[in-house]
Symmetry: C2
């Protein structure tokens, strides 16, 4: 790869070739970061070239991705392989949501509209292409859900087998999704950390391609494309702030890397401040920042399953991203997350899963605390689709049990729900239906 | 609208102005079709203009849409209104799926990747823009689910209120989704026909904007954009066949209109044959074609809720589309639909809801019956995301009850499931894990 210089350990600085078998530092075990030849890339990834590109997926930025030329081609006929279209999700300017939190220039990036409905599709696309190019026939990972379904989907489209390790608390919607993609699913009766260790041992033993973001340095390279898109969709400008939820740490590391890459090749002229949002019940990264201490294990007490990571595997990269960006930390309760889900849906037509809305919840809180200037250019990153976790959405909407209510019951309850059950022959002139609260 | 000539009744031929209050024929009550000035449009919508367009949404085809100039602009500042990005879903060439059914040139159009995860977003975008332009503050419809959530989402993004009538059998995922968008939901204890009649009476009484596809002739105009995209994504070529599921009839009417429009303005040089797929348990449109008789009411016996429409409201348009295209009818069982869902996921990484996969199920059946030449250029249209109906996906994956199985139980059951539950400290060398069937 002419565009990649090396894989460098973020702990000890040792350099390695960015080859197929390079995962973690062979010297100290640290996480690796991919270093590019920005001078080489500068002339190949300009505003003009991007503006005329017709590839609206993560591959429009291939000059800044760790992919060999030809890796995406089928060896038989030289055509592009069948693969899912990851990336180029919409960036919405949402005035109503901005007004609700007192921000005048707020955008929402809806990454729930990726092929398997989460941001993780960006990383899994890179993993699947690299796995095939490395001659593997099976890919594997441990995941609370979205990394899993994205990997299973990407693998299915490209003819790879997949083995997925999930903790037993993974929502049934996510497990079902990856079974539909033909994955072999190992449900571990334990927490994320135990699931991760088990997957690592199995991957080592059986020689599968390792898509664990904690270990595989190429995944945050996929995730960083979301920052490329944000900047390009803002007319090659960096936002002042980007709010996002943090679990394992890989996503915030990728987001930060994306903006640094663009800055290095001259496509943006400043860098954003990151707003790192975690759940109050599981915030080891933010706690480390706030206490200026190392990351320590925490329980995983939040309904936002995708960010319920007690022992973040990319903690070092996450801390660096928050530090370097002069970032802000915000911890939110489950109630604040559910409220943010409702607000996103009602004001913007964006349906987010809890972890997907946690970034918005943190932004609401930070804005209320006047930590964000009201005229700042702000992007709230929604990382996953609400359809993935209907049980939490039901909590958010306080949906009554089907058939339990009637129009009279709804009225008696003060129309606290917006779901009204009626008989088909009901008199439409019934004034209850036109209660002042409706529609 | 300079590009629109009139709204013409498909039954009696009467012509009307395509204005705000034009829904059905004022003379005979028939459904209206929007007629364009193709000569005027020809010079404004060329391959060159489209190829250089940077708008990757349904609005790239605005010259062929019934929208006033300026209707999408906010009156206050002349900027584009906040709205969801409907359209430009991916078209995948899926060799593995094609091989499975003996077709050499098969593509899947994944319309489950629209903003609220179904094709209906295309129609609701048109409805919301026209409602705002007509000065309405509330939009309403009856729907088995997807039209509803798409309308609620589009309305939320544009600051409109929405009132949705759903039959009580609508899957909880769909109801929850539209509650998240802030809609007022009226759940009717009856079938789709009763729900529709109730919504019509309420809309009439309260003067809401009517988004019922049976009545509103502008909705199939939104849906037709899927055909524009298919042709453009195939390099301005028409497929030989397009397979899709049929419920109310509005979607197949829109798909056919789209290809006819493109043909009329010279962007394609032939028209496809439509493959109309219905559920065996509810196939009034196909039965009418097969028996050369009028459409008659049928029970609604299928798990594919989005196409369980016993009395299709756009039946006339649907019959005309099938007739004019020299179309093929195929009826499929629920088991065939579930099998198609599994095959789509496993071979292509596309997760479809039952009605979304029904078109593929019909295509599999027609191909097996040798009704489709193996080298034909075929598109299978997936109309909705599988995450919308996890209960059906669970049926398709035959998911065992969580925690009920163990590695031993899985083995004892002959590994009939690909979901394996294990303890976190399980010995990974356990040969059961490496049963020949896994991964």
């Amino acid at each position: 790869m002419r565009n990649v210089k090396a894989a460098v350990c973020v702990k000890c600085g040792a350099e390695f070739d960015a080859g197929h078998d390079t995962y973690t530092c062979a010297k100290c075990g640290g996480v690796l970061e991919i270093v590019y030849d920005y001078e080489y890339i500068k002339s190949r990834l300009t505003k003009e070239i991007l503006t005329s590109s017709k590839d609206f997926s993560i591959w429009r930025y291939i000059e800044l991705l760790p992919i060999e030329e030809g890796a995406r081609l089928s060896p038989l006929r030289g055509e592009l392989r069948c693969m899912l279209r990851a990336g180029w999700s919409p960036l919405y300017k949402t005035e109503a949501l901005g007004e609700a939190m007192g921000l005048k220039n707020l955008h929402v990036k809806d990454d729930g509209l990726n092929p398997t409905s989460s941001l993780k599709d960006r990383a899994s696309a890179i993993a699947a292409v690299r796995a095939l190019h490395a001659g593997k026939d099976t890919v594997a990972c441990s995941s609370t859900g979205n990394a899993a379904s994205s990997l299973a989907g990407a693998a299915a489209a490209m003819g790879l087998k997949s083995v997925i390790f999930v903790p037993e608390r993974a929502p049934i919607g996510k497990v079902t999704q990856l079974l539909m993609f033909g994955a072999t699913v190992i449900s571990v009766k334990g927490n994320y950390e135990q699931t991760f260790r088990l997957s690592a041992a199995a991957i080592e033993k059986y020689g599968w391609y390792n898509r664990n973001a904690a270990v595989n340095p190429y995944l945050s390279e996929g995730k960083k494309t979301v920052s490329f898109e944000i900047a390009e969709q803002l007319g090659f400008n960096s936002p002042d702030y980007v709010a996002l939820s943090v679990g394992d740490g890989c996503t915030i590391a990728g987001v930060w890397k994306g903006f640094k890459d663009l800055y290095a090749v001259g496509l943006i002229d400043k860098l954003p401040r990151l707003i790192s949002v975690q759940a109050e019940g599981c915030c080891p990264v933010n706690r480390a920042i706030e206490n200026n201490s190392p990351i320590e294990w925490m329980d995983e007490n939040t309904l936002a399953d995708s960010i319920a990571v007690g022992a973040p595997r990319n903690g070092d990269k996450a801390l660096a991203a928050i530090d370097e960006s002069n970032g802000i930390t915000v911890n939110v309760s489950d109630e604040e997350i559910l409220a943010a889900m409702r607000l996103l849906g009602k004001t913007s037509g964006v349906f987010a899963e809890p972890a997907g809305a946690a970034g918005t919840a943190g932004l609401i809180k930070a804005a209320k605390q006047k930590r964000i200037p009201e005229d700042a250019l702000v992007v709230s990153l929604v990382t996953g689709n609400g359809l993935k976790d209907i049980a939490s959405a039901q909590l958010a909407t306080k949906l009554p049990a089907p058939k339990a209510a009637g129009i009279g019951a709804a009225n008696a309850a003060g129309f606290s729900s917006r779901l009204i059950h009626i008989e088909p022959d009901m008199d439409l002139l019934n004034p209850l239906l036109l209660h002042p609260q409706y529609p």
